[in-house]
Amino acid sequence: MKVRDLFENIVLAWGAMKANKLRSFLTILGVFIGVAAVIGMVAIVQGLNKSMAEQIESLGSNAIFVSRYKPGISINGHNEEERNRKRLTVEDAIAIKEFCPSVEAVSPSKSWWQYPDGNHAKYRNYEVSRPELSGVTPDYQIVYNLILQQGRFFNEMDMFYRTYTVVLGADVAEGLFPHEDPIGKIIMVNKGKFSVIGVAEERKSLLGKSMDNYLLIPLSTYEKIYPGDEGVWIGVQAKNNSLMDEAIDEMTELLRRRRGVPYDKPNDFAIFTQEAFMDIYRQITSAIYLVMIVISSIALLVGGVGVMNIMLVSVKERTREIGIRKAIGARRRDILWQFLVEAMAMTGSGGLLGIAFGLSVAMIINATTPLAATVSIPSMVIGFSFSVGVGLFFGIYPATRAAKLDPIEALRYE
């Protein structure tokens, strides 16, 4: 079929659709919903992706993490071997720093949750609710790229003397000191008095949830106030990006020795990079995508059957027109294409409407929520091609029927 013929056929198809406006609209509703769902969902998921990726990147690209378990989605929970694993200790962190030459900084940390309703921080009449409270070491600043807007971070003296000092997240500083300079002020954290030595810069929010509601205190002080043998979370910074693998090897070797893992047994701990978090995230999004594909496939299928049904009706109604066209010289393939293009134009416009609707939903989400919903060109192209493809597939049978009509009988049809 030549381009010019295609154009003729599109004009014809448009005329046919205009002649039965309501019917055409109802017919393409299924395709419309299917495509709108895909476009909208893809936009939302991509918005999530972007936000997530930014968050994970902010951890630092050459950060390595050590914990008892590999992060991931597990349905059965941990098995017995995993439950019996030894905890990681501050000593492990110190050993890593000492014996692994490719490692720049090591940050063991512990976090506290005050029973029953979270941590409290108070300054005079100002209070913030449920800040995260973590005990950290000076290296924390390096590993997690923490930038201070004022004051200083912890140093070795703070660690050694277990000072009651605190670094505030931006939200906490804002909440406790709306009108004052926080540096040097004494605040209450749960039941202890702490002197504010630093305030961190604002971090990127995650899906509209602020990530700045936290308090950091020296790990040594933390252990004095909250003694207990809960394990530490260890963050490690390699000297540079190219030394990541070496750093991981050195740490694996060291920890296996320290934890007494026999040479023929697998690691009883996990070392991973931010990629591992991305992987978890990808697992979640691929599940969302799968559900989405199933839903929209069903919508498109139902829509396609509707289109086929209407096309069969249309062929029947226009039997005489087909007869006329054949009498004046339309070949089978002319008629075939006429009806195929009509079916494709119908589902294609459903697709376009769906894309427009999905786009506006994404824009509304963008404007009203912190989620940056983004509609990508490929998703629009795929949405449109699929809707046209549905028309092509479900139009073949009706169009073939039209093309095969006998001109004499078609002309006689009342």
Binding site: D5, R320, I328
Partner: protein, 225 residues
């Protein structure tokens, strides 16, 4: 010789019965002739018209149109011949209801791939030839019966076919309009077109030069004026 049929048979099988719609029809038509095919209903004149118009092929016998053997052509070849050689005029006009007069006349040109500009010119010329230049953008339901039939004639003319084949062209028209339409055919004939009118009305047939009478699927007699 424009049309030559040799011993054309058309047989339909309906259940267990075999119906012979045509039983060996042999006719010849010269280029530029104006003739009528007459006969009562059931005489086979519609079947013969369908065969001459290449809408159908014969069960037996030969049909040579413009030195080409039509018998044995496939669907697409027949469509090509219909487009090039035949201009149909039907009793019920058979115009596309949603299309304007102009677009209806353009249709045959669309199917042989004529360019948009030439198509428009051709269609306008054909409509002017039937005195409908001022009604080009009207749809069929905005036209009178006579005007509709003239649009149909313009459509039949537009491709310069070898034959204009009219099936009861005045069957749905009153007497005055019928005369008007027959005048159009007369004019086309004078311009050198070959016109074949299939009818059962004697006074319509009388307008032509030669009348072929069919009865029971065979040629009963021919009258030349």
């Amino acid at each position: 010789m424009l049309i030559e049929t040799r011993d054309l048979w058309k047989t339909y099988v309906m259940g267990t019965e075999t119906v012979h719609a045509l039983r060996g029809v042999s006719i010849q038509v010269e280029r530029g002739e104006y003739l009528a095919i007459m006969g009562p209903s059931g005489s086979g004149k519609s079947t013969l018209m369908n065969l001459i118009g290449c809408l159908d092929t014969a069960s037996r016998g030969e049909y040579i149109l413009n030195d080409r053997a039509v018998s044995g052509m496939n669907d697409d070849e027949l469509a090509f011949v219909r487009n090039k050689e035949i201009g149909f005029v039907f009793q019920t006009f058979n115009l596309l209801p949603r299309a304007t007069a102009l677009h209806n006349v353009e249709l045959p040109l669309i199917y042989n791939g004529t360019g948009a500009k030439e198509r428009l010119e051709g269609a306008k010329a054909a409509l002017s030839a039937v005195d409908l230049a001022d009604r080009m953008n009207h749809k069929p339901n905005e036209l009178s019966g006579g005007q509709r039939q003239r649009v149909a004639i313009a459509r039949a003319l537009v491709n310069n076919p070898s034959i204009i084949l009219a099936d009861e062209p005045t069957g749905n028209l009153d007497t005055a309009t019928s005369e008007e339409i027959m005048d159009v055919f007369e004019k086309l004939h004078e311009r050198g077109n070959t016109v074949i009118v299939v009818t059962h009305e004697q006074d319509i047939a009388d307008c032509t030069q030669r009348i072929i009478y069919l009865r029971d699927g065979a040629v009963e007699k021919e009258v030349v004026k």
